[in-house]
Amino acid sequence: MAKVTSEMAARDDSDRTRAVAPLVVAADARVIDTTGLSIDEVVERVLAMANRPPES
């Protein structure tokens, strides 16, 4: 588990700091913190957004 956590942290760091297309949150993206949510709950939220996309 500790190994997975450290490998994932390394990949996150690589993604966020690379010169080309770093992992960043789009200014107009909806952030969903899935900690403690079931897959179904996350899917429901995305589907709700798809049924009524925010005005851009």
Binding site: V20, T34, A50
Partner: protein, 160 residues
């Protein structure tokens, strides 16, 4: 309801992007595209062909040349099913390396835009809402605590 939306799902590893994106696509009757698997496909083929991950020119040419299909239940490179072959630590590292190369990204982003033309697609990755489809109809960024992501990763090794 507009049936031709482009839905972008971004986020780090272990947040359940793949599971969520597949379920959303199935519910809407949309196509699902796993862009992380495309970078894995380039890394896999590079290992097969003996191309070093430092050879940016050869890797960019490779990404332009090969046909990667990551829009179905299996991932194919030039017709070969590599679904099982791209979920291991060697490919994890290789995909991170090739994803840093501008020429590789340009080639794959062009393919991804082509796949999303006309909408009706749920595309998951790390730069969909920012680079591939900055005008996507729906943009979601999934996140979770580091502990939760590591736990999910351990429980389901197919997660990207």
């Amino acid at each position: 309801m507009n049936n031709r939306l482009i839905i972008a799902i971004d986020g780090p590893s272990g947040v359940g992007k793949g599971t969520v994106a597949r379920a959303v696509a199935a519910a809407l009757g949309y196509r699902h595209v796993d862009t992380g698997a495309m970078y894995r496909g380039v890394a896999w083929r590079a290992l097969q062909d003996g191309i070093g991950f430092e050879d940016e020119g050869a890797l960019s040419a490779l990404a332009t040349r090969i046909a990667i299909d990551a829009s179905g239940r299996v991932v194919r490179v030039d017709g070969v099913d590599i679904s099982g072959a791209i979920r291991n630590p060697d490919i994890d590292r290789g995909a991170a390396r090739v994803a840093r190369i501008a020429g590789v990204r340009a080639a794959l982003v062009a393919q991804q835009r082509h796949l999303g033309e006309g909408g009706g697609v749920v595309m998951e990755g790390r730069d969909i809402g920012t680079v591939v489809f900055p005008d996507a109809d729906v943009k979601v960024y999934l996140d979770a605590s580091a502990e939760e992501r590591a736990r999910r990763r351990v429980h389901d090794q197919t997660h990207n």
